[in-house]
């Protein structure tokens, strides 16, 4: 290929406003060929808007966007991009077979039909009307339409929303099989676990800005502190503040659920020592901060 060195997605300084709302407020985002990148953020953070720009559906108010070295519209017209769009995007009155045939014809990729149908596991429902398919079946059809023409960049907007764990795993194994080599995948999700399980790299977006990016481990490391858990009979919230006063400056938060106490701290050893000597707490545990905690921190801080 002539442009192997071009990033699959290269967004810089992207701004998009709707009326007075700055949906996207200066985003930089790169996806290299061969990478699976998660775009993680709460609802309304600006994920879909950014993806719309990458796909050429909307034009940004400021900033530059290149897709495989082309403008987003050119890339789409040259069949370099494929996308699973949030909900909809299908014709309810068409059968699954008709949907695949029509999009394959329009993408000039009828040779791909058999392989794609098999890979996405829709053979059994080919004769069914789209409106009669389950949510999971419709999502597999969307994936099939995306894969037709073997695009170099796949943009997936909340691709597994509403799927159960097995379906989600099958879905991603199909994507991985197709994305092997130098294909790039950029997917939006608000499921942290999905980003952690399937992405090589994560961008966290909140209120239109990127608040963190990196590998799963790098993002996890951004969280400050460790969690000390303990069983503390008869504990009340003010007990924690009172008895742990000597290490108060290291504590980032505490939660009491009945007898179960969770204390987030930068000095787990000191907190543990104090818990064992100055309080009735026992059954101590020290665990790393969960991704959820890190994510909540990053999003709240933005």
């Amino acid at each position: 290929m002539s442009n192997d060195l071009q990033p699959a997605v290269d967004v810089s300084g992207l701004v998009k406003t709707f009326g007075s709302v700055r949906a996207v407020d200066g985003i930089d985002l790169q996806v290299q060929p061969g990478e699976i990148v998660a775009f993680l953020g709460p609802n309304g953070a600006g994920k879909s808007t950014t993806l719309d720009v990458v796909l050429g559906f909307t034009t940004p108010d400021a900033g530059s966007v290149r897709v495989l070295g082309l403008s987003p519209k050119q890339a789409a017209r040259n069949l370099r991009t494929g996308a699973i769009l949030q909900a909809g995007g299908l014709l309810p009155d068409y059968t699954v077979r008709q949907s695949v045939d029509v999009v394959a014809a329009m993408r000039g990729s009828r040779g791909d039909i058999d392989a794609v149908v098999e890979l996405t596991g829709i053979t059994a429902v080919l004769g069914r009307k789209v409106s009669k398919c389950s949510g999971g079946e419709q999502q597999r059809l969307r994936l099939a339409l995306t894969l037709l023409g073997n695009p170099d960049l796949m943009v997936l907007d909340e691709p597994t929303a509403g799927m159960d764990v097995t379906a989600r795993r099958d879905f991603w194994s199909a994507i991985r099989e197709r994305a092997a080599g130098d294909k790039a995948v950029l997917f939006a999700t608000h499921y942290l676990q999905e980003a952690a399980d399937f992405a090589d790299r994560i961008f966290i977006i909140s209120r239109g800005r990127i608040v963190a990016s990196g590998s799963v481990d790098e993002v996890r490391a951004l969280g400050e502190g460790t969690v000390v858990t303990a069983t503390w009979p008869g504990c009340r919230t003010d007990d924690v503040t009172r008895l742990l006063a000597p290490v108060a400056s290291t504590i980032r938060g505490a939660e009491v659920h009945g007898e179960h106490v969770e204390i987030r701290t930068t000095q787990p050893d000191d907190v543990a020592r104090l818990l064992l000597t100055a309080t009735p707490a026992h059954h101590l545990g020290v665990v790393a901060l969960s991704l959820d905690d890190v994510f909540a921190d990053l999003v709240d801080a933005a």
Partner: protein, 266 residues
């Protein structure tokens, strides 16, 4: 930037025809299409045109059967236009347009397929009704009148495709489009198409959306004459023409407003 060859495994040329054929097939086999835009107008023509005692009474250049035939064809074409344009607005609202934007043809390809299908789907009942007319004694006088009437029956598709679009874009539901299509029965009645009106109803008819297109389609047969319940009345060309243009513009404006509303909601 240099041109880059598509890097996919694709070798075939992108084609619109398979989509157009699938779309046409689904359209024409849709029960609502068969019942309401084909069988209903055809049945009405046979009942109130061909099989009546007054069917062969002279009217304009031809006879009453031809008059009824043209009225029913206009009714059918308007329903097709409303249903197809409305359906496509709902499809676009449902995100199908984005799917199309990821193909080399883009939305232009989609519009071409839809417009082509709308035309062919309208031509089916139109041709059937005219064929039935020719076989059951409708007389238009000359071949040019037959041809002109046939062609002008497509004119109401202009305001009514905008009518369907406006409803589809505003309500984004197939039920709403179905209701809009069914409302053609009301417009047919209120526009002097189902039966000759008189008095206040005829005055109102001049302001309803089907009147202009329908009366234009009847001009090759009737000339300057309009059939009313009080007999034949002369009406200058500008009257149906004004109605047609005014409704087309008004409905186009409503489409623009619906589009703005949809954008603002995003």
């Amino acid at each position: 930037m240099t041109t880059i060859a598509p890097a996919s495994t694709t070798t075939a040329r992108p084609r619109l025809l398979p989509y157009a054929l699938t779309e046409f097939r689904n359209n024409i086999l849709y029960p609502d299409t068969i019942i309401f835009t084909i069988l209903l107008p055809l049945g009405l023509y046979l009942t109130f045109g061909a099989m009546t005692s007054y069917g062969d009474q002279p009217v304009g250049n031809g006879n009453v059967a031809a008059y009824t035939m043209i009225c029913m064809a206009v009714f059918s074409v308007s329903m097709s236009a409303t249903a197809i344009a409305g359906g496509s607005a709902v499809e676009l609202a449902g995100g199908w347009g984005r799917q199309m934007m990821l193909t080399p043809w883009g939305l232009r390809g989609y519009y071409a397929v839809k417009a082509g299908c709308a035309l062919v789907t309208s031509l089916v009942p139109l041709t059937l009704i005219f064929a039935a007319g020719a076989l059951t004694g409708a007389r238009c006088g000359s071949w040019t009148t037959w041809a002109a009437s046939y062609a002008l029956c497509l004119v109401p598709a202009l305001p009514f495709s905008l009518y369907g679009l406006a409803v589809g874009m505003w309500f984004r539901s197939n039920q709403a489009v179905g209701t809009a299509t069914a409302s053609l029965s009301l417009w047919g009645f209120l526009s002097n198409v189902f039966l000759p009106l008189g008095g206040v109803l005829l005055k109102i008819a001049h302001f309803t959306p089907l009147y202009g297109g329908a009366m234009l389609a009847l001009r090759p047969l009737l000339g300057d004459v309009v059939i009313t319940s009080d007999g034949e009345v002369t009406e200058p060309l500008w009257q149906p023409l004004t109605n047609l243009i005014a409704w087309t513009l008004l409905l186009a404006l409503i489409c623009v407003a619906s589009q703005r509303r949809a954008m603002a909601r995003r």
